[in-house]
């Protein structure tokens, strides 16, 4: 049996790159088969030679997604909503506009919807069909969010998933799962932790985690045994 990236209506790989791909090892992304490095290099050099892509643009793209976007952006949105009730209202009514007020917009965040956690409702975001995620406010998604187990289980067993993340949601609280099947991208507005009344907006932003904005965690104060 061929163990390469054969796609049925197969398209060959650039010359000089092996077509076999040993997948007998545990297929975790951390164990990168070195032939992938070679294949991607071969593809890039072909596209550069053809003038289809500019290598400096690739560097700029990578730099942008490694450094300019990430959950710190979303945390600033959340902290602003916690300290400014008018902003929170705008955020819940028009997520895209309110998030753009803080300077965050662009690809995979063109149509933002913020959903608010309350004592009665807990929100959880998933994309069962692929990996849709609000890039401008959270950056690129973690591997678990894109993984088969999360995509499969978040809709059928959200409480079980949340329990694995360390969150026990009381029975009387409604769990709302948002399956990102269209171009809306969801940001969970977590509950502001009790005892945070004296904290500045910046300090509040420092408490807000990526996981809390996906809905698999709550925001807690460090001294309350919270997560980093």
């Amino acid at each position: 049996m061929r163990r390469d990236l054969d796609l049925g209506n197969h398209l060959a790989w650039p010359a000089g790159t092996p077509v076999t791909h040993d997948h007998d090892h545990d297929h975790e992304h951390q164990e990168v088969p070195s032939d992938l490095t070679l294949r991607v290099k071969a593809l890039e050099s072909l596209l550069v030679e053809k003038g289809l892509v500019d290598p400096a643009a690739l560097d700029a793209l990578i730099d942008y997604y490694e450094h300019a976007v990430g959950p710190r952006n979303g945390a600033r949105v959340v902290a602003r909503a916690w300290v400014d009730p008018a902003y929170k209202q705008r955020l819940l009514a028009d997520g895209t506009g309110a998030i753009a007020e803080l300077g965050y917009s662009g690809r995979q965040g063109e149509h933002m919807v913020a959903v608010e956690n309350t004592p009665q409702v807990h929100n959880l975001v998933v994309c069962t069909l692929c990996s849709c995620y609000p890039w401008p406010v959270l950056g690129l998604p973690p591997v678990w969010y894109k993984s088969a187990p999360y995509r499969a289980r978040a809709v059928i067993d959200p409480r079980g998933v949340l329990r694995e993340f360390g969150l026990e949601i009381p029975e009387e609280v409604e769990v709302r799962v948002w399956d990102s099947t269209a171009e809306q991208r969801y940001l969970v507005l977590p509950e502001r932790p009790a005892g945070s009344e004296d904290l500045s907006e910046d300090a509040l932003a420092g408490l807000v985690t990526r996981d809390a904005m996906i809905g698999v965690a709550k925001v807690t104060l460090p001294q309350a045994g919270g997560r980093a």
């Binding site: 990236l5 997604y65 769990v175």
Partner: protein, 218 residues
């Protein structure tokens, strides 16, 4: 298509594995694949729906075996050839065809940030909504063999229109370059018990974004 990518509600996928202090990319080749796809996409020879469809067409066993960016790589190679940016022989040899003209990349380092806002999928086309907020609807029981964003687990189920998001490009036709067919997208609330039966929590719900053509009057 009823592909393995449509995972909502499946069992047997194993535990959710989390990673502490996860990097944005786990290897340089992942970052290059990510960037190559964005940069090649700037030629606009395909759209986001066609890009997703190409990933869905990876045979099921391969789809599950490949890592996320391996899927991106496989589908990028397929798109480049199918959409005429690279000739099959060039992909085979790894070099441009002799005498072929050199193109000028549409995406350059100094235009990356401004071009990151691709043309948004919302349309101003005046299309009347078929449903109103609060209305009961049923997700159609359809099984298109092409691309669709109507997940299997919702088909035939009853829900309620929670919000009208406005008019958007219809992925089922756009993915196959058959036109944008703009129409309303709604957030539809499905009770967990309607989707998963009596053992589900009576309070819980799944909200799914659905195009007009996915819905019928209940």
């Amino acid at each position: 298509m009823n592909g393995v990518h449509d995972m909502g509600g499946m069992h047997g996928m194993g535990p959710i594995r989390r990673e502490r202090d996860e990097p944005v990319f786990h290897a340089p080749w992942e970052a290059r694949v990510f960037a190559l796809r964005q940069a090649a996409g700037a030629w606009r020879r395909w759209n986001i729906d066609a890009g997703r469809y190409e990933i869905e067409r990876i045979p099921a066993a391969d789809y599950l075996r490949l890592s996320y960016y391996e899927r991106w790589l496989a589908s990028l190679v397929a798109l480049l050839v199918k959409r005429g940016l690279v000739a099959p022989a060039e992909m085979e040899r790894g070099h441009p065809a002799p005498g072929s003209p050199k193109a000028t990349p549409p995406l350059t380092a100094d235009t990356v940030r401004q071009k990151l806002s691709r043309r948004a999928p919302r349309r101003d086309t005046p299309v009347a909504p078929r449903f109103a907020v609060g209305e009961r609807v049923r997700a159609r029981n359809i099984h298109p063999i092409g691309h669709t964003r109507l997940p299997r687990y919702a088909r035939g189920k009853l829900g309620t229109i929670a919000r009208d998001h406005g008019v958007y490009v219809f992925p089922d036709t756009n993915a196959q370059f058959l036109g944008e067919n703009p129409q309303h997208v709604y957030s539809v609330r499905f009770c967990a018990r309607e989707l998963w039966g009596e053992l589900a929590s009576p309070r819980d719900a799944v909200y799914i974004d659905m195009w007009d053509d996915y819905l019928e009057r209940a």
